[in-house]
Symmetry: C2
Subunit: 237 residues, 2 copies
């Protein structure tokens, strides 16, 4: 049998395959706290529990997994976050009561102000401070997924400025430093932090200043070029 004939007669529905979904941990920084977006489940299983935004791949709508992730995030926030990164894949026989289930986990960052509105009119979504999470029971293994996402973000705070995507487009260095300090859980030397920023050459001085308190702080934004790592480093490109 040649390949063309094979493909014509191939029907994958003959096989019983695992469920496959995506789940995103969307972080933001607000009120001096790191928060994640949680969504109240409106379906079984784990009905009414809070969990991560995500869902099943729609083979008609989605051309790739990335499409699924962005579609699901947009449904909840009305916007597409500037940073989305694939975390890892989890799959086993027990994580979902419906049976063998695989989920592709993503970590994303967005400025709080950029999706405040979007969330307001979806009453089943909420920003939850990560510190208050340990007490809650979340759907499926979402608690564990968040833990991994958080750990990874913390690592990034040490050697990159990726966390900046959790801030508005323009931000001051003291703001960014504060975020990093919240992430790694201790204070950072101002000088060391700024040296790292400068060396990375990923930020651009907008020329504008923010006036509040004492000396005004310079407003920075991400350079265009840093776009190369704003997205899933995957096989698509």
């Amino acid at each position: 049998m040649d390949e063309a004939t094979f493909l014509k007669t191939y029907d994958k529905r003959k096989f019983d395959t695992p469920l496959i979904s995506v789940d995103s941990t969307l972080f933001t920084y607000h009120d001096h706290q790191l928060k994640v977006l949680l969504v109240k489940r409106s379906n079984h299983p784990d009905l009414d529990l809070w969990g991560l935004p995500g869902g099943f791949i729609d083979m008609q709508q989605d051309k790739s997994i990335r499409d699924t992730v962005l579609r699901k995030l947009e449904e909840k926030t009305k916007v597409i976050p500037p940073y989305v990164e694939q975390l890892q894949c989890v799959g086993d026989a027990n994580r979902d009561k419906r049976g063998w289930s695989v989920t592709v986990c993503f970590s994303a960052l967005i400025a709080h102000q950029d999706c405040e509105v979007g969330i307001a009119d979806v009453s089943d979504a909420a920003w939850v401070a990560v510190d208050t999470l340990k007490d809650q029971t979340l759907a499926f293994d979402h608690q564990a997924i968040i833990t991994v996402a958080l750990e990874r973000l913390r690592q990034k705070a040490l050697y990159s400025i990726v966390p900046a995507y959790a801030l508005p487009e323009q931000f001051t260095l003291p703001e960014l430093q504060q975020l990093h300090e919240v992430l790694i859980g201790k204070t950072i030397q101002k000088k060391s932090f700024r040296r790292r920023i400068e060396q990375a050459e990923l930020l651009e001085d907008t020329g504008e200043k923010r006036y509040e308190g004492g000396r005004p702080a310079a407003l920075y934004k991400m350079k265009e070029a840093s776009g190369e790592y704003t997205f899933v480093r995957n096989l698509e490109g």
Copy 2:
């Protein structure tokens, strides 16, 4: 409807879901070359092309994705590699001619001598030097997957000693250094390299020596404790 009733009546076969598979890039170091294990496809599509060892999840046999990966690798090599790491997941509508397909990619390392025998009696598997790969046409997007796996392994050569898992259980530092040099594509200062090794405290002097050439070289092995990062850092534990 309560959850129990829901689960009883739930039939996921109603939904048409993507194909889901795993693929592993198994590296080894032999003859001063980095090699990957390739397998000749015995089924459509891409029949007779070489590709990565992998396959579909068997929901009966496999309790988790890790089980699937190890099972597939063991089928080809008769052994379980000492280092297996999840790389990333790729999924889209076109990577497999059969339709929407998701694959979870893994990177693994093994000593050449530990699976020479295993491969010998599976004539459809072969070690291929990565340098000779660019010319070949591989099945699906496996070429791209290998590129990503290789890139990641190269990164690891810079700041870790993970590549050591591509060597036999006991090895000398000059051997390990040579492997690292092949990976990063340039020579490394002996002293710098050894300093890093020492600081990491992941290797243990076995007390034995290897005699060949000039002064005998001390044989080292991984400390037990380094086992913590020999496996998929995943949500299972």
